[in-house]
Subunit: 433 residues, 3 copies
């Protein structure tokens, strides 16, 4: 969703055409500049509030996936990180991304300010809002993986750095018109820029943090589920449905314009492909777990939806419906096998964020040339590698510095008691039957 | 919400008028064809995502209503059926409904493909999306009634047939311009086509399936609530609020167009009537349970909202606000007494889907002529009978064939253990106080 | 959000300009009256359904905050009050507010009826819907504070009076063009008119009702949390996120128009300020509780978001982003210290509605002149005092009369058993681990 200036020309020209009374054919727009401006702004606002609501989706998904002694802290992390992301993206993030020189590497450290004009095609503030919720999504992605043993405030500090600096830099490389955009990299709504970024930051975190106490036995296998059972499957479910809902805004809004016949048709196509990819992810995960393990794993079906959605995010416009289903189904399978892969390395990703966002994001980005003839595989590969290596490396350094200075992991006693008691002093479920 | 081609003429004519500089009065539209196209598409997309979110509403309503040992499976059913419905409605459903010959009975078995053109008045894909979420709603309705004793994959197979064949056929009879439309049947947003269809399919299922073990005592009365207590009232509550929210999209979007003064006014009226009917349903159920049983039954208030919403769905535009309240209140009463009626027949509808969707849907459809002078009672009666008998009969046959081939009911041992353990292997609530 | 007739002129004039072929510059609108009408109506409908969804947010926030033996009743209250508010606002509320004489005190007791015309600038029904959900919000605010010891039906009666009479009267004073509007009072979206009104009504209720049994020890300190622990933190969290989402509609829709460049830019600014104020509230509450009490209180962070949102509601357009953060942060601090203040007076506000809505609403209203040069402090003070004193006094009288006639508080036995058992007969959480 590169901030394209060329978009503007269409409504302006059409206004002139209209005023000149030339017979406007279907190919020429009959939408005045101001009406187009309102439509485009409305698109950003509607899609923006849908993506904003994804913060609730992540909060519920993660609340349901952690054990019942770490739920209040997950809630604190999710409301806190969304607040931090909003402020940081205003303070430095937006201009770090969009203030980048053409083909460059980094923008300027200045707060965002409104510069709306009718010839930019949309209200500046609506674009800020839409981009901000993408930034918050990136941070939400990495909040769940490290649950149950990370200290709260070091996480908040990392959230500020990820939202204010790390994400905006890679965002600028592509959507700000930086070096990746110049290279021909293609990532429509952020399979790599948002989802892999969140996943790669989380991967660095869980490597440095180590697994929860007792998560793996001496042979390296994850313990039987019981002590690490997800606290509430319905909360995971509503979380996934909210994310699915929000994704229509995520991908649909990344068309960046609504004020023309072509844009309205494109957004409709994006809605369909986004939906069908998620369907593919759900069913692939459901079928494979039923066939391989004898039971239909509802958690993998739910995470399979996310895997499908992440996979289609790099290119939700070009695929046919059938291709979208397949791209999503592969995303769902990647979630199932990616979860196994992490177990093999004794990596403890509490909510499955890394398979769903990092792994499925890589797949989705590399798959773009299969359906979009304008994309090429080498640019996709360079984009995937550069973004993921940069985010992983910088995150690893930031986590390491915090670990060295004040520590990032709770004491063994605190972890045993549960983070809710030690960090917030609030029990999550005080339920008497 | 018949797919009317005549809608298109208005914006086209108005464009010509505008370009010809004739003094456009209020009665003539001043909306260009392209602006109208964008508005109509936007209506489908917004209302579509609202209806999509109803899938989450059903998932929460049903999760809260079943006992705590069957919640994970309900979540799996709801995410799975939504995925299945999306794929089936693309693969065959849409063209089975809309590819129907004028006044005919069935369309063609071909996948949907995009044929957007400005003179159809909206993006083809946005219409597909809006119709697809209606199809998914139909399947969601029937998922809860059969809970706690049905096998998961036979349910998924039935979901595929309902979404891909049964619903599209009756949809085509009316909204595709088939024989019911020709007859003068009137069902604005689907009291019968969607809600009764889902309810009739569920009724066939629970008859063949039988009640949960121990649900009724030897005298035929339902056992005291305890062992069959709803697992979470707040989840039911958020489910109902989400459904109520989604219904603005369900009924509002069924106006099918936004791009004129008349359409904007109509959709506003639909919002009001939809809301007031639900209000009537809530209060009627609350008052009657308080008066009859001494306690204000919160579950009946919540289901009363659904009953009111289903009742107004057949005609949300013509009624006055007062009429809408009354239509909804009767819907709420039908939920309360319909629940009793099912008990009398020892029919075990776990979530109350049949009173709320089938019974209230019949009421709403038959009530159309009370407020809409263009409707006539005999056509309404024929529509109600033909759709419900067709759906019930075909569903009964499909369930019976599945029962004969591989069985549809869990073993007694599995039911006692709970479907969560036997079907998904995932406990829904792993909560330590 | 005064119902300004002057808004209409702009699109009408611009239509004339367009038809006259004058070269429409950027300052003059190129939006036809009908397109503007559709945009404005669409704004009310979208923002209206967002605010409607806040009813679910309050239901979840309150369900999570009460103890587990009072959750079903809270759900009944929330679905019931929303139903009551809708009917009362149609029956008398709307015309009590908007039928007020210029500079007057009260409108007329007549039901609302639709009088849409293109020159009012939006569909009458869409405005009714948008105003109705504000009315319902006011009632939602006061439902939680009195939880766990109030009788259900007296609450419903009060809800009818608050929705039908009390709120509409103060609403009319300002937004109907009554005496407060004439005085120069400024309350963009209702920090005082909605939020303080709900809070003041609740304050009167809890004073007359008294605290829950055993809430305060003999020295007047609140008992250790355990017996009064919030039943579910994730439900509080999703409640707050839903409220945050709804607030974009609450404040954004209060711009009352979308059909021009200026309106689209203004709504975008409102979205940003609304969001940043909530961010400020969350972080201020998180930091202060961590510093003062050693633990990061997740409940105060969540209520801090509400405090920030309420504070910005009086003026979400004029502040800079930085000012919005500060206004919200003060709102968050007010929530933390306001909670302490109520404890000092042994006032038992179960969900923290009074600090978040009444106290933060006063702050937000008085802060308007800091960023809006058109506002003056004395008018703000008069508005705050007159609305809060009127609402508190009338509410106090209504509660007192009900207390004298049939009592408003449950028996001690009923309270000990829990309101769920005694009032609805439905256990909220029937969960087996």
């Amino acid at each position: 969703m590169t901030k394209l200036i060329k978009r503007i020309s269409t409504p302006l020209i059409s206004l002139i055409l209209l005023l000149n009374m030339s017979s406007a054919g279907m190919a020429e727009t009959t939408v005045s500049a101001e009406v187009g401006f309102i439509f485009n702004t409305l698109l950003f606002l509607i899609c923006g509030f849908l993506v904003m609501f994804m913060a609730a989706g992540f909060a519920m998904l993660e609340s349901g996936m952690v054990t019942s002694k770490s739920v209040s802290v997950i809630c604190a992390k999710n409301i806190g990180l969304y607040a931090i992301a909003g402020i940081m993206f205003w303070l430095v993030g937006y201009n770090l991304a969009y203030g980048i020189p053409e083909g460059g590497y980094i923008g300027t450290f200045t707060p965002w300010s409104d510069a709306s004009a009718i010839d930019t095609g949309y209200a500046d503030g609506s674009d800020w809002f839409f981009q901000m919720v993408f930034c918050a999504t990136t941070v939400s992605i990495c909040s769940g993986a490290m649950a149950e043993r990370i200290k709260l405030w070091p996480f908040f500090l990392f959230a500020a750095i990820l939202a204010g600096v790390i994400y905006p830099i890679v965002m600028g490389w592509q959507w700000g018109g930086g070096w990746l955009a110049e290279l021909g990299f293609s990532d429509f709504a952020g399979s790599t820029l948002v989802h892999s970024t969140g996943g790669a930051a989380a991967l660095a975190g869980i490597i440095l943090l180590g697994a929860r106490n007792g998560r793996f036995d001496s042979a390296g296998n994850p313990k039987a589920l019981k002590p690490f059972a997800a606290s509430s499957i319905p909360l995971v479910t509503i979380g996934v449905f909210i994310l699915w809902l929000g994704w229509f805004g995520f991908n649909g809004g990344s068309q960046l314009a609504l004020g023309s016949f072509d844009d309205a048709v494109a957004i409709s196509t994006i809605f369909i492909n986004t939906n069908l990819a998620a369907c593919g992810g759900v069913l692939a995960a459901g079928v494979i777990t039923r066939l391989m393990f004898g039971k239909t794993d509802v958690i993998q079906m739910l995470n399979g939806a996310i895997g499908g959605l992440v996979a289609i995010t790099a290119e939700p416009l070009a695929p046919s419906p059938f291709a979208a289903i397949l791209i999503g189904a592969v995303g769902g399978l990647i979630v199932v096998f990616g979860t196994k892969l992490l177990f093999n390395f004794k990596l403890d990703d509490v909510v499955g964020a890394i398979p769903a966002h990092l792994f499925a994001g890589i797949w989705g980005t590399l798959a773009v040339p299969l359906t979009n003839a304008d994309a090429n595989f080498s640019a996709q590969l360079i984009g995937v590698l550069s973004v993921n290596i940069f985010v992983f490396a910088v995150s690893y350094i930031v986590w390491s510095v915090m670990k060295a200075i004040f520590g990032i992991r709770l004491s063994k006693e605190a972890e045993t008691k549960g983070t809710d008691v030690t960090e917030t002093g609030v029990i999550a479920y005080a339920i008497r039957d």
